[in-house]
């Protein structure tokens, strides 16, 4: 790794997406990178804070698989907006910002061309809504930006399965329930689990 290892994860934060989000988060830890995301931003002055986080990230993972209409029949623009900010920073930022790298994910390989055709010519990777596939895509992409050793995709998929088996008991041992657990709690538990089992 030739830089800070911060990876901005740009994805939805709803319960339907959380299996994919958790799998991506887990993979980033396993690959010795540091996950960052808009959860850190809070609600106040949110856009400025998100921009500050993006500025600190040399890498970005942008999942465009959930840009469909929400419950109120309105499109979800946060992911394309944050992808645009990331690309803008890379394109117009200083010399450090120009070294940014990003991975675009979607459910199917070229589906994005139907709703964000200006991204044509990019090489998005598909995860088919499958956490195991997302792990493979993210791991292999991070490996292409790292000289360090890291577990293979199959090993990370197996570790992630073991983590999921233990997850509920880990929350209980920490006096938490699924409902109580905040992003900071689950992230801290996941990070420590990877450290305990893989380092």
């Amino acid at each position: 790794m030739d830089n800070n290892g911060n990876v901005f994860i740009n994805c939805p934060f709803d319960s339907e997406y959380s299996p994919l989000f958790d799998a991506i988060l887990f993979t980033v830890f396993c690959c010795s990178f540091r996950p960052r995301c808009a959860y850190e931003a809070g609600d106040e002055d949110r856009l400025n804070r998100i921009c500050a986080i993006i500025k600190e990230c040399d890498y970005g993972i942008h999942d465009l698989s959930r840009t469909e209409l929400n419950a109120e029949n309105l499109p979800r623009f946060n992911m394309p907006l944050e992808l645009g900010i990331f690309i803008g920073a890379k394109r117009f930022g200083g010399s450090h910002q120009k070294k940014k790298h990003y991975l675009t994910l979607d459910t199917e390989k070229y589906r994005y061309l139907k709703f964000i055709s200006d991204l044509g010519g990019q090489d998005p990777k598909e995860h088919n809504n499958d956490p195991a596939e997302a792990i493979k895509r993210v791991r292999n992409w991070l490996k292409s930006h790292s000289d360090g050793s890291m577990p293979g995709a199959t090993a990370i998929q197996n570790h992630y399965r073991n983590y999921l088996v233990q997850r509920l008991n880990l929350l209980i041992e920490n006096n938490l329930t699924e409902e109580d657990a905040e992003y900071s709690d689950t992230t801290s538990i996941m990070e420590a689990w990877v450290d305990f089992h893989l380092s």
């Binding site: 801290s188 420590a192 380092s199």
Partner: protein, 103 residues
């Protein structure tokens, strides 16, 4: 994987230090505090020291980072502040791991 040094009650009398929960004891001590001290010394080169109570339950887990940074995976902390403490989380992980292994 970095080593896990356990301090546990010996079958007969005293306390044992072993690398791995089921490994043969590396050293035996009359009192727990001496066993803990020896385990921490062993752990200083990098790893986890897992301290059990007399009933077998895990009371504490301490993480020692390797000075040479030779861990297979070098976990980078996310910049978020959890209400859970690191030692409590490690204790929970070691406890669940032990229960899973026994079960």
């Amino acid at each position: 994987m970095c080593k896990k040094i356990h301090v546990a009650k010996a079958k007969n009398d005293g306390w044992v230090v072993r690398e791995g929960r089921k490994a043969r004891p590396t050293r035996t001590f009359k009192v727990k505090t001496d066993a803990v001290r020896a385990a921490k010394k062993m752990g200083h080169s990098g790893g986890f020291v897992v301290i059990h109570n007399a009933d077998g339950k895990i009371s504490e887990v301490r993480r020692y980072k390797s000075a040479t940074g030779n861990e297979k995976v070098h976990v980078q902390s996310a910049p978020v502040k959890s209400r859970l403490s690191k030692p409590d989380i490690y204790r929970a992980i070691a406890t669940v791991e032990m229960k899973t292994a026994v079960g």
